[in-house]
Symmetry: C2
Subunit: 365 residues, 2 copies
């Protein structure tokens, strides 16, 4: 139950137990079922609803289509002391990215930094899960992934890049960690969907029509339109958003032998991957730096706390209560939802009910 | 001479010889004089005129004020196999950042990746110089620096961050390298100066007044105003530009014991550093990844060439000739200026004439 009439609230515990069983029924190993559950649930807890259980039925369709392998044989190759490569054997990224991050952590124990490039993978959920694995070690975590093409390069009118997120997770002392997890487009497609649902125009600078014209139509993407890179236009530096998205694409795809640019496979089962793909699946890039590799941890923690306190005390703009530290709202949302449950909109509830029927484990929110 | 009546063109060779001698007269060692010359000249060659010889007289005033040490004792500490720290002893960043990058290269030879954090430094010129040191080794180079506070965090109305650039330099095969070198603000202050010179309003989304109101006044910064992060406003994702600038500040400052946020020392000698500084000087962060640490170089080069060719072939937007690869225009500008000389605007020429008089080595363009 929920205050919102169009949603139902379910406890994290109940959702976790049901989800883990669903993954087992999909033939995931015990370990992988719990890991995939953990990654999806973290998204729902942190309020990144677009990347949580809302994705489940789409993942199942990709498993049915043979594009996600539920029983992958992950092939890790350590190529240097501090770097390696993972062929994910068509695993879902919910599994392959934490596996790779674990390898990066081990290299960081030895070298102070460690990096793994991943090919032959699929959607990896929220980037923050993987980068935040570094935090308990007082390491700084980093993760990127490429994604189905929706974003045009600056000056272009063609879908060439995904919303290609960058995540950096930095530990603090007494304060909460700094967790930047951002798409490199001006707006994520979820924002257009929300605007469409409530029948509102979108701001200029989010999207172009398929012919490259400005549009405020929230349905632009469904009509073949394009997302714009962060910066939105030439005056406001959209070559920078393009550059960041391109960096992510090269690190996730080209560096690891995964697909890149317009060849990244679509996330939906009803669209086929292109026949002329130069690589395998989609790619991710994860790694970490040990804080102690640069400075004594205690000194760093003290200054990091000071950094956070000082930035929270920034003179706010008119009508703003206070400046926010990246990751802070998601942390508070997570604490709240752990206690008060996770609200699921009706469409997602219906989706999970259907999944439950199909896999003979009813979803009863 | 130059087609532009307000500028004079000088050959790169003549400028190089004069500059190196000026640095020697400033008591730089032979090696440091040539290195500092090389870094400044690369900016002028690549068309980043704001970061080349235009900075020379400002550097000299900081040397005179005792804030840049022309004869530094650079103290490098290797803390892990793949990480280390450099106390730059108040060196100019033109010297300390390449020194640190050389250490990062050596660690990369051994580990496949290597990283150095730098404190107690000063302005480091263009970020691209340092990151591009990785390219001849077929490594990917990375560099960041923090800078005097001018940019407000998203939701704030206070100068808390510099224009804090991120640079990533990625080698290719037959194609030119990919060199992303971007400020994390919507516009750099140089753009406001240009608008002011020609008496034009600036676009909304570049700056706020000191009270946090929108402004199109090109002189806003001179009146205590603020630059906006990449993204420009809440609708267009300026929390992302803020997050990127904050990441750079933490990596350049907090991680290395340099100053950060509002405490980063000003670049101009007439403004004093704050008395309550938590760190030493300003900071940088440099490092690299060996391509071969992830994938066979030849395969990477082939795919990187394909990436570049495919992105250049992006369907262009109306009125755009073609999509640009980051670093491409700067490369072509550099090739052009190596042959045809470097145009210097009159104000810079006058500045260099004054420097030449002061140091008894006349500047005769």
């Amino acid at each position: 139950m929920s205050a919102n009439p169009n949603s139902t609230t379910i406890s994290a515990q109940a959702l976790r137990a049901w989800l883990a069983d669903i993954f087992l029924r999909l033939k995931f190993s015990e370990e992988h079922a719990h890991l995939a559950t953990d990654v999806l649930l973290m998204a729902d807890l942190r309020g990144i609803d677009s990347h949580g259980v809302a994705r489940l039925s789409g993942y199942i369709r990709l498993i049915e289509a043979g594009r996600i392998n539920p029983t992958p044989n992950l092939q890790f190759t350590q190529r240097k002391r501090a770097t390696g490569h993972l062929d994910a054997d068509a695993a879902i990224g919910l599994i392959s990215a934490p596996f790779a991050m674990q390898k990066a952590l081990e290299m960081t124990h030895e070298c102070g930094s460690g990096w793994v490039g991943i090919s032959n993978s699929n959607h990896f959920g929220i980037a923050a899960y993987h980068a935040m694995m570094a935090l308990p070690h007082n390491y700084i975590g980093f993760s990127t992934t490429n994604a189905s093409p929706l974003v045009t390069p600056a000056g272009g009118a063609e879908r060439m890049l995904g919303t290609n997120p960058i995540c950096v997770a930095i530990p603090a002392g007494k304060e909460l960690p700094f967790v930047l997890d951002m798409a490199t487009s001006a707006a994520a497609n979820g924002k257009l969907e929300i605007a469409e649902r409530v029948n509102k125009p979108i701001p200029e600078g989010w999207a172009l029509t398929k012919d490259g014209d400005n549009t405020q139509d929230a349905a632009a993407l469904k009509q073949g339109g394009l997302l714009l890179p962060l910066g939105s236009d030439a005056d406001h530096g959209y070559h920078k958003g393009y550059g960041l998205g391109a960096w992510v694409d090269i690190f996730s795809g080209v560096l690891n032998g995964a697909n890149f640019g317009p060849w990244v496979p679509p996330f939906v089962s009803f669209l086929q991957p292109r026949a002329d793909q130069p690589g395998k699946g989609l790619g991710h890039f994860v790694g970490c730096w040990d804080v102690d590799g640069f400075r004594d941890l205690q000194d760093f923690q003290n200054d990091m706390d000071l950094w956070i306190q000082r930035f929270k005390a920034t003179q706010p703009a008119h009508g703003v209560e206070s400046v926010i530290i990246p990751g802070e709202p998601e942390h508070h949302q997570s604490e709240y939802r752990k206690i008060n449950g996770i609200p699921l909109v009706d469409a997602v509830v219906q989706d999970l009910i259907n999944v439950g029927k199909q896999l003979q484990h009813p979803f009863n929110p």
